[in-house]
Point group: C2
Chain length 214, copies 2
């Protein structure tokens, strides 16, 4: 069995993001040192991660930007488009619908749902808000495997259950709670506060201890 | 030198979030197994993390919820309130201003800024949008150490520079780019797409390989 940590996967997404920026700037060749400096990850980690996935570059030449993008995209499964649904047409939902990076990176929000009947039929970005009852039809029509939820804490588990009943396999959860899901379902919690707490941790402890962040 | 990984810090924030939920439910005592099951992290990791920070619980009794919350809060530096500023009054900014979890967890957005002069004076949530020129005064008045930026890619580095000039030490960055900052500045990139890519990675590779996610 191959073991791979969540952190390695997040590092791969980081490399991919940076490589795409370099590609847009017309940079065709780059070294592991270039990537390391660009993303702030030590060069030996970059080389190790890429070698683990079979990308070795050419000695003295480095990596070809386009082909590295293509390899990492394939590993991450983003060499194809993904249709996703969003539940929750509040402020966070509105930000996500208009977040054009999703589409640019291959994630297409095909429908927005809300349980609040007063919101049904209204628009959010260029999408019309639909009732939850339409989830099964949309998921099946667009072969949706990923659901995003930006709902209040108290609604989160119910929506997760609804996703799972409708064969959704991955959930991006913006609700500040922990979902109970079967092992076969992948959940990512988007927690802005955790990111702030990670900043205050560093700020607080650098004055008390000589921590090295690895 | 004590080495500690970013992942460990994020795990601590996860424990804290879960413990607060249990506290609200009135649960006063819990075991590492309870925490493990609640957050989906193996129990031996939970015990190791807590022991590393000097929390051992009581054999046969477990941890006291309140005192564990207090210890982890102290470690993370969130046993006190933090004033933060936000630059960028777009859709993501609007979601952040009204994101009440920030205040609940001790992060108080004291001002919202935007470089777009047509937005100045308008309101977002219950805040009035201010021009960038007011950053120095506000940062100094409210002793702000953390800046959040939800600005377009092309503005991001300029805002980061402005933050740093004004003695801000930690940046939560919602712009899809990499900031160049001195080593003393802590940056956290909030990347929704990376979370989706991490889901597609798991979905894609479980059919090809027998990965174990650790």
């Amino acid at each position: 069995m191959i073991k791979i940590s969540e952190t390695t996967v997040i590092r791969l997404t980081t490399y991919l993001k940076y490589l795409r920026q370099l590609e847009e700037k017309g940079i065709e060749l780059l070294s592991s040192k270039d990537i390391a400096e660009g993303v702030g990850i030590p060069a030996h980690n970059v080389r190790k991660d890429l070698a683990f996935f079979g990308e070795f570059g050419t000695r003295g030449v480095g990596y070809n930007t386009k082909s590295l993008i293509s390899s990492i995209s394939k590993i991450l499964g983003v060499n194809k488009k993904w249709n996703v649904v969003l539940v929750g047409a509040g402020k966070v939902g509105a930000a996500l619908v208009t977040y054009d990076i999703f589409k640019k990176r291959g994630f297409n929000i095909v429908a927005v749902f809300d349980s609040d009947t007063t919101k049904i039929g209204k628009t959010i970005g260029d999408m019309t808000i639909m009732p939850l009852e339409e989830i099964p039809g949309i998921v099946s029509k667009y072969d949706v495997k990923i659901g995003i939820m930006a709902v209040p804490l108290t609604h989160a588990q119910g929506i997760a259950n609804l996703f799972i009943e409708n064969n959704i396999e991955g959930i991006l959860n913006f609700a500040p709670t922990f979902l109970k899901v079967p092992k076969s379902i992948y959940v990512q919690n988007a927690d802005f506060t955790a990111l702030l707490e990670s900043i205050t941790f560093k700020h607080t402890n650098r004055e008390m201890l000589n921590f090295k962040f690895i």
